[in-house]
Symmetry: C2
Subunit: 359 residues, 2 copies
DNA sequence: CTGAAAGCGCTTACAG
DNA sequence: CTGAAAGCGCTTACAG
């Protein structure tokens, strides 16, 4: 390993001078600068980030603003684990990550939690921008203190952000459309099943639906596309009656697309015959959905790679803070197509990390 | 931040003694040990990994034995880039990675390159075990020097290894079978198209074919499965004549499965009508294959995630060396289903890394 | 069983 | 414009 000391000796200068050209701090004569640069190049020098971090007492801090999760509402667990994994890794380059969890159904909680966050004066912020109006307030604050901030999982249009880490929702819906066409025999119909009320991550769902429809409309085969809106996925009885009535009225339907993460709720209210005859496609690898995939009722799930989203968000921000890498505006994660057969292979990384956690 | 120095002062001992109890190095009286431990606890001390890494001069070395690549035969480029990315990251925890490239068609090159590698006395080795007999010799050597070694991309049965990073080939073929069933209308036939001669990664291909057939046999629909073996994918003229003759003799065929990475060669010899009417499914996201996916001739590609394979191999070995994490025996990477629509999102990581390289 | 000191490779004042 | 020296927090011999 080539050290600054080695470069300095070869150039007949002090280590301080090498450091000055390495970081463009100026105050070095053109001549020595050139000389040092050429030696740097030739010896293929690269700074030792560990020593650098130690000397600088690198105390970058990333604060994360993310919804809390629990047993029944566990979607945010996976992004959180991904964040945690990256946090552990970046510790060794002097980056400290702290978490602030809010209630995703409460604007007050969102804002209040952010206020606690901002008091810690982080150098960068990773946030899930749940509520548009409040997010605008937050962004104003962040700009004031000149913090880098990246959006995680939810991309808000019309709001500047340093970067976004998540999925291209439109395209993921488009792909769901393609898979649906494959799963439903020609001449039969499909439907899109969603709630009529809006929830937090509505934005993504709207885009998925748009993508899905667009695929249907551009494709030449003629399958009719119906739409069913229900009040809630949580009220079993009502959901059951809406779905059954709808399917009776439209006996030609052979495919159901659920653009939210709640397809398992739909499966729960279907009869065995319906499970057999319908091609079901949904989103997100929640435990419940994965169970439906494995028992064969759901044919495909599109995964957002939530674990990876969290992981990448912390990584790119760290690399930006420590190594001055440019933040990519949009970091779109893979659109995973999950089937019964490949789902178990899909989160080796995440499983390994969870295992480590329990040790 | 609480430092060792602070703990030492409070306990009226030297920093060295605190270090001894932190790492259970022994040689500390029961009494002082207890005292220090309680202070550690109370002050909620945790070691600064940056300083630790620097002081330890962590000088682990990983040597990688991997096939070389070039323009036409570029499969190994992606694993290499993945290895490179991880190498950069683990530098900061004191791990150095060096590369040794061999000619994948020459046993002599394989063995001779390994001999050069072993002279550098690496603490761990990542290798692509191309030739069975030679691999056995290599493993013997590695055991002698007690080096950790992990297999990359190719898993060799009947040979001990510390770990394997790659795909579950059988299952990936099985999934190809499932997708083929979706793409081919009921009542029509399919065929598996492969070379009759064996090549290096034959093992994987055999397992894919087995998986594919198994899916066909367990599924209730009746599509007949044919097989066509050709001499080589490189001889266009001959390939064209074999394929055309075969398709004429079996006009009922609507799907072609190519279990190697060469489906693009098959596409090149098909007529426009054939391209239209056949459902084509292949392996690996080589540039040529991706082009076929994008222009719509190939419906699905199964990806091995070659970039990630390289990346993970270096990461797990590093974590093993530095953090004493146990090596997972089999690290199966996701079985990616690629379509025209999602292929561009699939290697954001790899593309970002390539961009960084060029800066 | 314990301490004092040097060193890991880089950065940061300070002096000139 | 440049150098010498101290320091980041931990680890490693070495001496006792």
């Amino acid at each position: 390993m080539v050290r600054i000391k080695d470069i300095a000796k070869e150039a007949n200068v002090s280590e301080g001078t090498v450091d000055r050209v390495l970081h463009n701090r100026g105050g070095v004569s053109k001549k020595t600068e050139e000389k040092i640069k050429s030696i740097l190049e030739r010896r293929n020098f690269s700074i030792n980030p560990v020593a650098s971090a130690l000397a600088m007492k690198n105390n970058h801090s990333i604060a994360v603003l993310i919804p809390e999760y629990n047993e029944t509402d566990s979607f945010w667990k996976l992004p959180y684990l991904g964040l945690l994994k990256a946090s552990e890794e970046v510790k060794s380059i002097g980056v400290n990550v702290t978490y602030f969890k809010f209630n995703q159904y409460s604007r007050e909680s969102y804002l209040e939690t952010f206020n606690r966050l901002i008091e810690t004066k982080p150098t960068a912020v990773v946030l899930v921008p749940m509520f548009l109006q409040e997010t605008n307030l937050i962004i104003d604050e962040l700009k004031k203190i000149e913090a880098t901030y990246v959006f995680l999982n939810v991309d808000v249009e019309g709001v500047d952000s340093s970067a976004y880490v998540g999925q291209d929702s439109y395209m993921s819906g488009y792909i769901a459309g393609k898979l649906m066409k494959l799963g439903v025999p020609n001449g039969f119909d499909c439907c899109i099943l969603q709630t009529s009320t809006s929830t937090g991550d509505n934005q993504a769902i709207l885009k998925r639906v748009k993508g899905f429809k667009d695929y249907f409309n551009t494709s030449q085969d003629e399958n009719v596309l119906h739409e069913l809106k229900v009040d809630s996925f949580s009220d079993d009885v009502q959901l059951a009656s809406s779905v059954h009535q709808f399917l009776e009225n439209n006996p030609n339907i052979r495919g159901v697309f659920v653009p939210s993460s709640r397809i398992s709720a739909v499966v729960d209210v279907l009869s065995d015959v319906q499970k057999q005859s319908l091609c079901l496609i949904g989103f997100d690898n929640t435990p419940q959905n994965v169970a439906c995939l494995k028992n064969g009722t759901v044919l495909f799930l599109i995964s957002q790679k939530p674990f990876d989203q969290g992981y990448e968000a912390v990584r790119i921000v760290s690399d930006h803070l420590v190594k001055n890498k440019v933040l990519k505006e949009k970091l779109y994660l893979p659109i995973d197509i999950l089937t019964k057969e490949n789902v178990d292979y899909n989160d080796a990384n995440q499983l390994m990390f969870e295992k480590d956690l329990n040790q």
